[in-house]
């Protein structure tokens, strides 16, 4: 009975417009490239091209040395062919000689690309109250509203710019949360990172605009290794948004980013991501390999770091935005929706390390797996012996669509004192054909039915996203799922 009706439902569904990945185009643009392959020479060349100080060159070389001694982690529930790190372009930049201050100087082809992506670099963004930094392959193209922000003392720039303008801050904080040798991919990133965003919110300032970075991998063989560093001083507050897309290629592109957040006393950082890298076609060919290390340090007392992510793209996702809760009474949050379809594989979750007294963490993870995809939550809650009165609440829900998808939960909890309170809840459910039939009988079409059920499932997370992101995320999920229910 199930099989037959599945078949019928499926044919009904294929009638629906099967939405293609709308960001799959590539842009032809003159590029400045360092030849494929990874060795000391490549690293020196990158450093040279970026006119870096010796601090940074040392940082890179040290990382490269560490990386060479490390082996690729295999514990994640992911299956993919060995990555050939010598077959990747580590530096690819649109050919422009200097950092542009005026958007009129930007290559019109690039501007058209970003218009196609729905990102306006022009002043219109003022209405949306978002300042934006755009990273194209290896290089930051433009940062908007810098002048406006500087009135408040807020620094928002590409990290390359910051390395030249604010070397003290970079030397103090770069690698302070994610050390060079933290893991295989962070070591790789530390050796070859090319650009990314830098934000500095001075003491007592509530950042007047939401800050946003948009990442785009354009080149077929280039990897993207961006580095983001956000520092929130005493009593300051910032909202940061991140979006990503890539063209549709048959080959796999590598994205290995490192994001470091530092919140000092009473500071609050909210970091939201909508990740929509190309996820490969319906047979699992192509797509981005996404290996990301994101970590926040709640250094001061009463500080707060909150991660919200909507992961819909990439053929492989390996990502665990984490919080180190060092300051007393500090708080870490992780809200996640991860959706996989076709042959996508996601191994994602978080790590909450409680070190200070009365530290609190909250984890809400929603995984949706459709098609033949694999979706795993991997979490670790560590409470040290000094973290008296620590509290953690975790909730991991999985939703299965169809009979061939796969959902897993790997929670790890370690508590070393007796005054800690830990709660963990988990559930697995499935969108069944009888539920769908109920909607259909009431005259509600399949598309709407699935949309309603998915957005109900994810509601807790979407309410954490900034308004314009929430609407986008909702739409994105239903687009991604078209043709997969039945």
């Amino acid at each position: 009975m199930i099989n037959q009706s599945n078949k019928v439902l499926n044919t009904n569904i294929t009638k629906l417009v099967n939405q293609d990945y709308p960001y799959g185009f590539s842009t032809t643009i003159e590029k400045d490239i360092i030849e494929k392959g990874l060795n000391e020479k490549t690293i020196r060349l990158i450093s040279q091209k970026k006119k870096e100080t010796s601090f940074l060159l040392d940082f890179r070389l040290k990382a490269y040395k560490k990386w060479k001694q490390m082996t690729e982690p295999e514990w994640a529930y992911l299956k993919f062919p060995q990555i050939d790190f010598q077959d990747i372009i580590y530096y690819s930049a649109p050919k422009s000689q200097k950092k542009l201050k005026d958007l009129n100087e930007v290559d019109p082809e690039l501007l058209r690309t970003f218009e196609k992506l729905g990102i306006s670099l022009t002043e219109q963004k003022r209405l949306a109250n978002v300042a934006i930094d755009v990273v194209f392959d290896s290089i930051s193209i433009a940062t908007t509203f810098q002048d406006e922000l500087s009135k408040y003392g807020v620094i928002f720039s590409s990290i390359s710019e910051a390395m030249i303008e604010y070397p003290d801050l970079i030397e103090k904080y770069l690698g302070s949360v994610v050390p060079i040798g933290d893991n295989y991919f962070s070591a790789l990133n530390s050796a070859v990172f090319t650009d990314g965003s830098f934000c500095y919110i001075p003491e007592g300032i509530i950042c007047p605009l939401d800050l946003s970075t948009y990442f785009r991998i354009n080149d077929q063989q280039s990897g993207q290794f961006e580095r983001t560093l956000i520092i929130s001083e005493k009593n300051s507050k910032v909202n940061y948004l991140e979006g990503c897309t890539a063209p549709q290629y048959d080959t796999n592109q590598l994205h290995a980013a490192v994001v470091e957040l530092i919140a000092l006393e009473n500071a609050s950082i909210k970091y939201s991501t909508v990740q929509n890298w190309y996820s490969g076609n319906e047979f699992g060919k192509g797509g981005v390999y996404n290996f990301v290390t994101k970590r926040g340090l709640c250094a001061g007392s009463n500080s707060k770091i909150s991660w919200t992510q909507v992961e819909t793209g990439s053929s492989i996702t390996w990502k665990y935005p984490s919080c180190l809760l060092v300051g007393d009474n500090s708080q870490g949050e992780f809200y996640s929706v991860a959706l996989t379809n076709n042959y996508q594989q996601a191994d994602t979750g978080t790590k909450m390390t409680h070190i200070g007294k009365n530290t609190r963490s909250r984890i809400i993870s929603k995984g949706i797996s459709a098609g033949k995809s694999k979706n795993s939550y991997r979490g670790s809650v560590n409470v040290t012996n000094k973290a008296l009165g620590a509290r953690n609440y975790s909730q991991c829900d999985s939703l299965l669509i169809g009979n061939l998808s796969n959902a897993n939960t790997f929670p790890f909890i370690s508590v070393q004192n007796s005054t800690t309170k830990i709660e963990h809840e988990a559930s697995t459910s499935k969108i069944g054909e009888e539920q769908i039939f109920y909607f259909l009988q009431r005259g509600i079409c399949l598309e709407k039915a699935v949309e309603l059920m998915i957005s109900g499932f994810c509601r807790e997370i979407f309410t954490k996203l900034p308004l314009e992101f929430a609407a986008e995320a909702d739409k994105l999920l239903s687009l991604k799922l078209e043709g997969s229910v039945g």
Binding site: S5, N12, C445, L452, F457
Partner: protein, 252 residues
């Protein structure tokens, strides 16, 4: 439309699921303004019949035809049948976590509005519409904010079905064991709701095991289904006779 024209005509219907024949040579004609009760032992094909009318994709129709208002609906999707006025009150209304009853009802209502090129209503307008209907089945507005059927008692689920029937103003309503699992007060509320809803333009098929429901809603015809076909048709009296003698009486 003229009254007393058949709203539903089933001709020689043969239905199977995974090569098991469930309905055989089923014939039935229902006019506007009529209430038909279908009774029969477990496994006789009553629920299959109701799902086939609503267009459940699990069943395949090997022979025969279903005419609704004179037109064959065999090729229509479940949602199209719904828009045309066929409503199925489920025997076991399914729970839909994360979706509020209010959103669900409004979406159902607006889907029909859209189908007939009528303006869709906004949430505020909808609240006025639904509040009137809630009273008809004695339900509190509080239940709008709960998730569809989630944590509902048996009686609440059944009342929710009747509420949806009233909201969508269906022309042919198939009520699959709407009386099962109800206490006597709930049965009265639901029966009142159904009786008030009934009109000369509408028709109802009541699928039930018990005569009890027929004390509150009087059918024009009672059919007995056995082995996938209708083996006997009579007046309301037939139901009483069945209650006394059991289904075995018919087999001899």
């Amino acid at each position: 439309m003229t009254l007393n024209s058949p709203i539903l005509e089933i001709k020689d219907l043969q239905v199977s699921i995974n090569d098991n024949e469930i309905l055989k040579n089923l014939n039935l004609k229902i006019n506007r303004g009529e209430i038909h009760a279908i009774m029969g032992p477990n496994g006789s094909g009553k629920s299959t019949f109701s799902k086939v009318l609503a267009g459940h994709p699990a069943y395949s129709i090997s022979q025969g035809d279903i005419l609704f208002k004179g037109l064959s609906i065999l090729d229509l999707d479940p949602e199209e049948r719904s828009h045309l006025g066929i409503f199925l009150a489920f025997q076991y209304p399914i729970e839909i976590p994360g979706v509020s009853n209010e959103d669900f009802l409004r979406l159902a209502y607006n889907s029909k509005q859209k189908f007939y090129n009528k303006p869709e209503v906004d949430p505020l307008q909808f609240l006025t519409i639904i509040n009137d209907k809630l009273k008809l089945v004695n339900m509190s507005p509080l239940f709008l904010s709960r998730n569809v059927n989630e944590g509902f008692s048996g009686g609440e689920k059944k009342r929710n079905e009747i509420l949806q029937m009233i909201l969508l103003d269906s022309e042919l309503s198939i009520l699959d064991e709407t009386d099962s699992g109800l206490d006597i007060d709930a049965l009265k509320v639901i029966s009142d709701g159904i009786n008030n809803f009934m009109s000369p333009e509408k028709s109802i098929i009541l699928i039930t095991h018990y005569q009890r429901l027929l004390d509150y809603i009087s059918p024009n015809y009672v059919h007995v289904m056995q082995g996938g076909k209708i083996v006997k048709t009579g007046s309301a009296e037939l139901a009483k006779e069945l209650e006394d003698k059991g289904y075995e009486w018919l087999q001899s």
